[in-house]
């Protein structure tokens, strides 16, 4: 299309079409901005959903960790003959939790790269749930026939190995689900608890129970070294619990400023933390007693205290994970609401602009239509008038009445034209220009 033909096409469009096109052109950036705004929310929502997927896999994996720690703790505190029956409960917990993790993994593996292929690509083939389940089946079978200290030590070593692998998988899922990069202060500090601090705490509880058991049972190779290690692990455990309490406090403080207040966060988590800290305080007292005088405590009593603390920490972890889900769901709901608002307001702006443009368009086109209606018959009038005047001049017998009527109609049309021009001037240039034209017209008429 040449510029000339384009110009002709453009000039053929009606004024209302042109106004509509102007509105459409100005609506276009609004549409683009609305799209970009909505598109900006989409990855944030997807990221929060990915975090929820990660958290859903963490839940059974953390139960596996607690189950393994409990198994180890039970194994150290039991008499060899009674170990098999004592291990039944934690063994069942680990088996059920691994099955649950495998079931969750079928749904989230593609997103979290926790299937065998995804793990193999990251050089973590040994962390595949199928592999962990196979290892556990061997350990569970071995736990039913512990009869010698050597077999017990071998089983503990197996628990430790599996514990380390599950802990590594927890960390891996935390990375691939972006939990580790959580962008909000409240959920970030909750992730710090569930993903980082709690697995460490479980390790510290298990380690203190192991060392304490050695000191109490008199099986230590070097009492001084074990005492130093127990003191060290006790401090680390205390530090972990203090860190958890501090993270909780920050979570509570930041909750209101991040996508609204979660109504269950503070009441549920505070209660769970209090129970956890209570169990931790009792356990710390027992550890101090062992360090002061091992004769005051028995291996069974230590195992009971450790199991109670593990149970309290599992309860606390379960509460934290549930509250983390709550915060993530609040975030998603907030983003979705903001996205709908952004799109809604944009649509409203476009509709309002269209309505206003329609009203303005009507205010422009209506007087123009009136002008066209007034002026359009003018061409016929002039043509016929000229024709009649020509006829009259040829016949040399002009009818005076006919001439007068023609003159009247021409005058009326001239008046209409004048009014039309003034109206047009008023619309195009405003009232001041129209007044100027009136005075100029009056001056010309006088001269």
């Amino acid at each position: 299309m040449t510029p000339e033909s384009s110009s002709v096409e453009s000039s053929r469009s009606s004024v209302s079409t042109k106004i509509f096109l102007i509105v459409a052109i100005f609506s276009l950036p609004i549409g683009v901005l609305a799209y970009l705004l909505a598109a900006n929310y989409t990855p944030q929502i997807a990221s929060a959903q990915l975090e929820i997927s990660g958290n859903s896999l963490q839940k059974p994996l953390m139960r596996v960790l607690y189950g393994l720690a409990s198994s180890k703790n039970t194994l150290q505190g039991c008499e060899t003959a009674a170990c098999s029956s004592s291990l039944a409960s934690p063994t069942a917990l680990v088996s059920a939790s691994l099955d649950a993790a495998a079931a969750v993994n079928t749904q989230v593996a593609a997103d979290l790269n926790t299937n065998a292929d995804g793990l193999a690509k990251k050089n973590h083939k040994d962390l595949a749930l199928e592999n962990l389940q196979s290892q556990w089946k061997l350990l569970a079978a071995a736990s039913g026939k512990v009869s010698t200290p050597e077999e017990r030590a071998e089983l503990v070593s197996g628990y430790d190995h599996l514990f380390a692998q599950v802990k590594q998988l927890v960390s891996y899922a935390g990375d691939t689900s972006s939990l580790i990069l959580d962008p909000d202060l409240d959920s970030y500090y909750l992730v710090d608890v569930t993903l980082l601090a709690m697995p460490e705490t479980v390790s510290h509880i298990a380690n203190t129970a192991t060392i304490g058991n050695r000191l109490l049972a008199g099986t230590t190779a070097n009492a001084a070294v074990d005492q130093a290690a127990l003191a060290n692990e006790s401090v680390l455990l205390e530090e972990s619990i203090n860190r958890i309490a501090a993270s909780n406090s920050t979570t509570f403080d930041a909750d209101a400023a991040n996508h609204g207040v979660s109504p269950t966060l503070q009441p549920k988590l505070s209660a769970a933390l209090q129970a956890y800290k209570g169990a931790a305080a009792s356990y710390a007292t027992t550890l101090k007693a062992i360090l002061a005088n091992p004769a005051q405590t028995t291996p069974a009593a230590l195992a009971t205290q450790a199991a109670a603390l593990q149970k309290a920490s599992l309860d606390y972890w379960e509460t934290s994970a549930a509250e983390l889900d709550g915060l993530l769901n609040l975030r998603i709901a907030d983003f979705e609401s903001s996205r709908i608002q952004a799109l809604g307001f944009s649509a409203l702006a476009v509709v309002l602009a269209t309505i206003i443009a329609f009203i303005i368009g009507r205010s422009i086109t209506k007087p123009l239509q009136e002008l066209v209606r007034n002026l359009a018959p003018g061409a016929t009038l002039l043509g016929v008038s000229v024709e009649r005047i020509a006829e009259a001049s040829q016949s040399q017998t002009p009818s005076a009445e006919e001439s007068a009527i023609i003159c009247e109609e021409l005058n009326a049309h001239a008046d209409n034209m004048r009014k039309a021009v003034l109206e047009l001037a008023r619309h195009v240039e405003g009232s001041a220009a129209a007044s100027r034209l009136v005075s100029e017209d009056a001056g010309q008429t006088r001269s």
Partner: protein
């Protein structure tokens, strides 16, 4: 209220000229003849037929339609 004759005249002229323009032209002729829309009769139209046909024909470019209009006005 406009008389039936006036309404007939407007209806006839509106066939050939835009209806608003028809009313405008007819109103001008009525003023020139000292007549008004409420009282005008068919006899008044016939008495001033030259004025009505001349004025209204000025807005009809087609000669045959002009003649047709004149004939219909005469037959009112």
């Amino acid at each position: 209220m406009p008389s039936p004759a006036y309404n007939s005249l407007v209806k006839l002229v509106s066939v050939y000229v835009d209806s608003k323009k028809a009313v405008e032209v007819i109103t001008r002729q009525l003023t020139a003849c000292n007549l008004n829309a409420d009282t005008i009769a068919t006899a008044d139209i016939k008495a001033n037929a030259l004025r009505f046909t001349t004025a209204c024909s000025l807005y009809v470019s087609d000669v045959s339609k002009r003649d047709e209009f004149k004939a219909k006005l005469a037959a009112l």
